[in-house]
Symmetry: C2
Subunit: 256 residues, 2 copies
Amino acid sequence: MPRAGLRHCPAGAGMLELPFLPFCALLGGLGAVCVAFVSAWCQRWRGGFAWDGSAQMFNWHPVLMVTGMVVLYGAAALVYRLPFSWSGPKFPWKVLHGALALVAFGLAVLGLVAVFSFHNAQGTPNMYSLHSWLGLATVLLFSCQWLAGFVSFLLPWAPAWLRALYKPVHVFFGSTILTLAMVSCVSGINEKLFFSLKNGTTAYSQLPSEAVFANTLGLLILLFGVLVLWALARPDWKRPEPDSVDAHQPLLSAER
Amino acid sequence: MPRAGLRHCPAGAGMLELPFLPFCALLGGLGAVCVAFVSAWCQRWRGGFAWDGSAQMFNWHPVLMVTGMVVLYGAAALVYRLPFSWSGPKFPWKVLHGALALVAFGLAVLGLVAVFSFHNAQGTPNMYSLHSWLGLATVLLFSCQWLAGFVSFLLPWAPAWLRALYKPVHVFFGSTILTLAMVSCVSGINEKLFFSLKNGTTAYSQLPSEAVFANTLGLLILLFGVLVLWALARPDWKRPEPDSVDAHQPLLSAER
């Protein structure tokens, strides 16, 4: 009965027999391209960066959100997929997972400060668009996720039953928050292009180079996010847990 | 070694011991609410429906996209999760899955006709926004998914090795296309509200009742989509396959 436990598993199993580390390098490159694209968009077409309530302060918003909520968040999510995290104590990898997520969260908070400060300085209302509702909800969900993860998995006195109960919830919301971050980024880029490309510039509908560039950025963010979700769902890239089939049946795991 | 094969499985396993059918009823209700919300938005605030190249023809676009690419697509995706599809021949359920997906695809094509006809009648350019790029890519991916699924799983002469090879790809793109449809819907609603709520009406930024209503629609679509993705990922709601642990080890499956 070879591989029996795996046939019952999710999307993507056995889809490609790709080793994790080359995939990881590809994903890292794609994440760097996303950060480079969003920075280049704001630098070349939107006037660059400042921290003074101006439109240049707003420009930090897309850069920090894409870098924090998508790229660094994706890196944090994939820590336990690194094969060299599978042997030895789990604690240092938990700390790395939590630390990367905390940096991602910090960048997201700075990204929110950038947009709220810009709006307040310009007298623009906050929190009316669907993008803003969804984006704030995503960051709030992320804060709950981080806190609950910290309390359950990093504090030494959390009971084992709590960890076992909460873990699938944490895993599920991990993927969900990344999905919502992707939706927030795409709706935000779309909204920003409608705002920016009108009077005094080539209209969005004429598809100037800025529009092609930023539309491409949106698609690259989706590609990065979908690849992270795919890697997270692959059963054979998961860290074997002490009570899993791999730990109990070395012959089965060797066969894979 | 009870439940060993399952511990290796994905997000949401054991998160809630919810029976599928009540969940399905809840999801059906939520899907109906999404269709009712998008129809009410277009009827009450956007002038209702027509098929004449006017703004009323555009209104079919959100209604058909939400109904086809999200609600009916979600229903098609969940066919194999119905417990009464697990016994007896699989073929009728395959036909139901393919037929629901085909109806969903037909509605999506009509939804595209609605927006292209409106643009052409008004002299508005097509295919410039990120929403339009992503939306069209999603429908094109869906057409490939449907055709490849039909050729591999419904035509009787498809070899078993092709089905086995393609199945995880089909499953993965099934969830991915739903995710992309959610992103398309949210970016489209956001864009439409910026278009509509300006000159001659209360601005979007003043958050009139239409904006609250349509923002809520966007969040409901995301809730529906995330619940479908969650149901798809739950290992214990999957149809036991002939070569899975459930089929070979009745004791193990009875234990669950």
